[in-house]
């Protein structure tokens, strides 16, 4: 113990950015370093459990106790609460402190804050789940491709042009689905600067309308376009807007397909003028709507309510693009009645080219 009274060693221990305590056989804290006192206060006289206010079930496996028993180093992950009430994840190592005869007279407990690592771990778990989800979506698409190819081959054998065309359409449809997933992944995976340009919002919305018209018709969904003709131009990234709208429209279509209560389904695609020169895009459907419990999760990363048909990437991409534009996306929904998504792009001047 004499070493600890040495001022140099004390300063050394105080400046180590880990929570270090010395404990006796009864787990009473005899000493703590500066870093520990700063975040947890004065521990002298308390036992470890009382000081951290840990319920006894979590202390069943106590590394300090085990070190006293066998003299080896033990470790354990725990959640501790600082004196300011902040929860931190730590990994605890206990190591024996022996006297000159080799008798263990105390155990040094060193706790390292691993909260940032835990955060990354959480994100990796979510990433893993997304990749698994994506694999399932792709499996479905492969089945669709298999089907299209089968029908095309059958049409070729029977010399039936109509069937070849029908099969080919299935192939194209599923090919389009894969392209969308790939686009979404790319959008999510990198930071990109929007390519701002002066565009006609109504023109882009009309293009989207024509792109989805046939698909909507195939599912017997009425698809309407309502343009505010007074909107002339806006400064935004045309690819970004196209991606936002196609994600919202395909979601609206899924919402209609999932709804088995109504006979007639309708999707409306609108442009509007917002406040302060903003441009507003609305995608409204009368599909299943979003349940109260799910409303908070809608924009959460990797969240999907579509079983293995959704990747959870779509709205994440939408939100990312809107953020890049300094805009926002909101929605209003009533369960079983329908949902309206509103994307607002703020007014923006074309950046001046550098002289």
């Amino acid at each position: 113990m004499s070493t600890l009274r040495n001022e140099d060693f004390k300063r050394l221990l105080d400046s180590i950015p880990c929570y270090i305590t010395l404990q006796d056989k009864d787990l009473k804290i005899l000493w703590s370093n500066e870093f520990h006192r700063r975040d947890f206060g004065e521990p002298e006289g308390y036992t470890c459990r009382d000081f951290y206010n840990i319920d006894s079930s979590k202390c069943e496996i106590c590394p300090v106790h085990n070190t006293f028993l066998d003299g080896n180093i033990h470790s354990k992950e725990m959640t501790l609460i600082t004196k300011k009430g902040k929860r931190i994840n730590v990994i605890i190592y206990s190591s024996p402190l022996r006297d000159e005869n080799g008798i263990i007279e105390g155990v040094l407990e060193t706790a390292v804050n691993i909260s940032p690592v835990k955060e990354i771990q959480k994100q990796l778990i979510m990433l893993g789940q997304t990749v698994a989800g994506m694999a399932h979506s792709i499996k479905n698409i492969m089945m669709g491709l298999d089907g299209g190819i089968y029908i095309v081959n059958r049409g070729l054998e029977d010399k039936n042009q109509k069937e070849v065309r029908e099969g080919w359409e299935i192939v194209l449809l599923n090919f389009e689905k894969i392209s969308q997933i790939v686009k979404d992944i790319l959008y999510c995976s990198k930071e990109r600067e929007p390519n701002f340009a002066v565009v006609s919002p109504n023109k882009i919305v009309s293009d989207i309308y024509h792109l989805f018209k046939d698909t909507a018709a195939r599912y017997a969904i009425e698809f309407k376009l309502e343009l505010d003709e007074t909107i002339e131009s806006a400064v935004l990234d045309p690819d970004g807007l196209t991606n936002v709208l196609s994600n919202l429209v395909s979601n609206a279509m899924d919402a209609c397909k999932m709804d088995i209560m109504k006979d007639k389904h309708l999707i409306e695609l609108r442009t509007k003028k917002g406040v302060d020169g903003a441009t507003v895009f609305e995608v409204a459907d009368n599909g299943v709507g979003i349940d109260k419990e799910l409303k908070d999760q809608v924009f959460e990363e990797f969240f999907s309510s579509k079983g293995d048909k959704g990747t959870g990437l779509g709205l994440m991409v939408v939100q990312k693009i809107m953020r890049e534009h300094g805009g926002r996306v909101t929605f209003r929904s009533r369960p079983r009645q329908g949902t309206t998504f509103v994307a607002t792009f703020p007014k923006r001047e074309m950046p001046q080219p550098a002289e």
Binding site: M143, D146, G147, Y150, K257, M258, K306, G307, K309
Partner: protein, 117 residues
């Protein structure tokens, strides 16, 4: 008289594929795009076998499975599960077979032939 198979899947490509393939193999087919619709059809029309996608939105596939296996008139209809998420179908009784998407159609046909001839 050909045996009749009810194909249940919300993806029209898959429905088209399975009906074309099963018809080519000599079966008659009827289709439904969700579990509710499928259950309604079974009340009025006899099917000798059902192929079911369990992962349809709103869990209508799972509900359909439960409804059919509980209904004394329908519980003996063999069900083949074809799903992107194989192995996640712990319902009341066991399906005849479970296929992962994309399905191996020859293996599927083998099971169909063994089950209903």
């Amino acid at each position: 008289m050909p045996k009749k198979i009810l194909v249940v899947d919300d993806d029209p490509s898959v429905v088209k594929y399975l009906t074309a393939f099963l018809e080519d193999s000599g079966y008659e087919t009827i289709t439904a795009s969700n579990g509710e619709e499928a259950f309604e059809i079974l009340k009025s029309e006899r099917a000798d076998l059902v192929t079911l996608d369990l992962q349809m939105p709103n869990e209508t596939g799972t509900r359909f499975y439960r409804n059919v296996t509980k209904d004394k008139n329908l519980k003996d209809i063999p069900i083949i599960v074809i799903s992107g998420l194989a192995g996640r179908h712990l319902a009341v009784t066991k399906p005849v077979a479970v296929f992962d998407k994309p399905v191996d159609r020859n293996a599927l046909l083998k099971v169909v032939r063994e089950t209903i001839g």
